[in-house]
Subunit: 349 residues, 2 copies
């Protein structure tokens, strides 16, 4: 496999650099953000997206807010508040901001000077990024062990390096299986409305030289019915205590289709995606985004004037349709509650 | 209900007029076709689409080929050959061309003059159109009787007046149910890649004042899981002897999802869509169209350079997932073979 040679987000000379994901695959140029307000905007408009990548970007955002300031503590705290209001579903955002708040609190206790605090914030952000990358590699190993030789895997949306840092969760499983010589091809759901599959996942697979075929979301069932899919591997945006999983809209339909065809469905996600405070999927709030994402494509209208549009960004896949949940701590099988509770307990507080 | 005030295709002053369906919903202007070559191109590029509408357009095409010619018979026969090569799956195309060939054969037997033949060909085309419209109304009545009061129906692609003449099959059922006061809303699958749902079905429903909500195809399962869909109503491009149905790609996934949620799936189609020569869906050839339909939208690329794309235009829904097939002759329930055989026998030969 060719080495993936990109990062979704990084720190460069006092600025945050992003690979603008709304411009891919056409333009691959980094976009530099030098204020926390611009970063909040980049998260809301999905220049940077994917729960872990949002968490990492937000951590850098707190470091950025402190950078070069006379009173870095106050700026960093204001940044935490602002960034927490960007997107509601990404659990990793809140988890990541909590780690940055912990650094600020420690700086008070330990009486750090301004320069020391700035350094500590940046170090924590770099640490969050690095930990995510380590988690990705472990998730990849654990997940790949579940796939059969010659596997034709189907994935939805982008749970790749663009959604984490550079390797990915669901796509990390796929990349690892390919490295291990057991993956023969990837079916890439284009993933309407924003086409994270055809624009982003295909771009990553192209970079890695992994064979893939892009399909419209509505073609996945037909591919399954022809016996051409061996496993479905997806990411997660929030996993409840019982294993119910919020992920990109369309995941639930895939789960029903996979069950109908006796195809395993694997959810791959870091422990920071687990939300023990939520008993089941019924308690997860689904973000609804602008109707324009469905009703127009780059300014070209695809619905009549006055059309009503529904645009939920996520859906809930019940634990009963999930074969296994793959985390950096290992593979959990149903019923998920005990193992997930044990693992999340380690990460929490 | 507001009267639908359009026709998909009609004869006007020695030309064929089409509502160019690639331009909808932005532009609603008729496109005039004055050669059978241009008509063949319009069918292949889907300016006119939907099995019954293709059949009607082709009939007018044969009349057009004869119009104003010294030797209308030879021109009409050449037109039949050319039009038969436009699209492989639309059964109604071949059925319609056979009716036009029958007129030509009769003209020989009855020693018609050229003017008489031209008139007879145009009359036959008008008759095919008129019969389809009558079939639509009957399908509408039969189908609406199956829907519950307050029904929230989900439809896929466009099986509306644009796919027939002006009323539609699946959408005719929905329009009739609305007229009868028993339909509360329509879920419109956008239907990738060509968006016949969001561009065409939504446009028809808007014209009729029927409440609807456009969703991406991958949202249908989530709407079902929330209890917001009471019935799925779709059209058909070819129905095999046992009831297996070829229809727009995505229909099969909907059928699996509907079954999982105990929601009835109704197929609405004229008898001319039945193909007794085919035992089951395994024998139906699936048209695969250009990868560009998936990989770009009006010139904007949505996949990386070099991406492999699979673009089947149809899929097969097995009879076992179909609750009932609604035709102008009535409603058939599983096992479908006997009733379909009886009905198709009437139309055939």
């Amino acid at each position: 496999m060719k080495e993936e040679n990109f990062r979704a987000v990084w720190w460069e000379g006092g600025k945050i650099a992003l690979l603008d994901q709304n411009q891919l695959p056409q333009r691959e140029t980094p976009s530099f953000v030098d204020s926390v307000e611009d970063l909040a905007d980049a998260i809301m408009t999905m220049k940077v997206r994917g729960a872990p990548a949002i968490g990492i970007a937000a951590a850098y955002g707190v470091a950025l807010a402190a950078w070069g300031k006379e009173d870095p503590q106050a700026s960093a705290l204001r940044a935490c508040d602002l960034l927490a209001r960007t997107r509601p579903t990404a659990v990793n955002l809140f988890w990541s901001l909590q780690r940055m708040r912990d650094v600020i609190a420690r700086s008070g206790r330990e009486d750090m000077g301004p320069e020391e605090l700035k350094k500590a914030l940046l170090e924590e952000a770099e640490m969050i990024a690095q930990e995510q990358d380590q988690a990705d590699r472990l998730i990849g190993k654990h997940g790949a062990s579940l796939l059969p030789a010659g596997c034709r895997a189907l994935t939805h949306c982008n749970a790749g390096g663009l959604a984490t840092l550079s390797f990915g969760t669901a796509l990390g499983v796929i990349k690892t299986a390919y490295q291990e010589g057991k993956l023969s091809k990837v079916w890439v759901d284009e993933t309407r409305p924003l086409l994270q599959g055809s624009r982003l996942t295909a771009w990553e697979l192209e970079k890695c030289g992994i064979p893939y075929t892009v399909i419209c979301d509505n073609m996945a069932g037909f591919a399954m019915s022809r016996g051409e899919v061996d496993a479905v591997v997806v990411g997660a945006d929030r996993i409840a205590r019982n294993g119910d999983t919020a992920n990109k809209i369309g995941t639930y339909s895939l789960a029903v289709l996979a069950r109908h065809h006796d195809i395993p469905l694997y959810v791959a996600a870091p422990l920071s995606t687990l939300d023990l405070s939520i008993a089941d999927g019924g308690d997860i709030v689904i973000e609804e985004r602008s109707p324009g994402e469905v009703g127009e494509y780059r300014g070209i209208k695809t619905v009549p004037e006055g059309a009503q549009v529904w645009n939920p960004a996520f859906d809930i896949t019940p634990a009963s349709l999930i074969t296994a949940i793959v985390t950096e701590a290992g593979v959990a099988y149903p019923p998920f509650a005990e193992e997930l509770g044990k693992w999340a307990g380690k990460g929490d507080e």
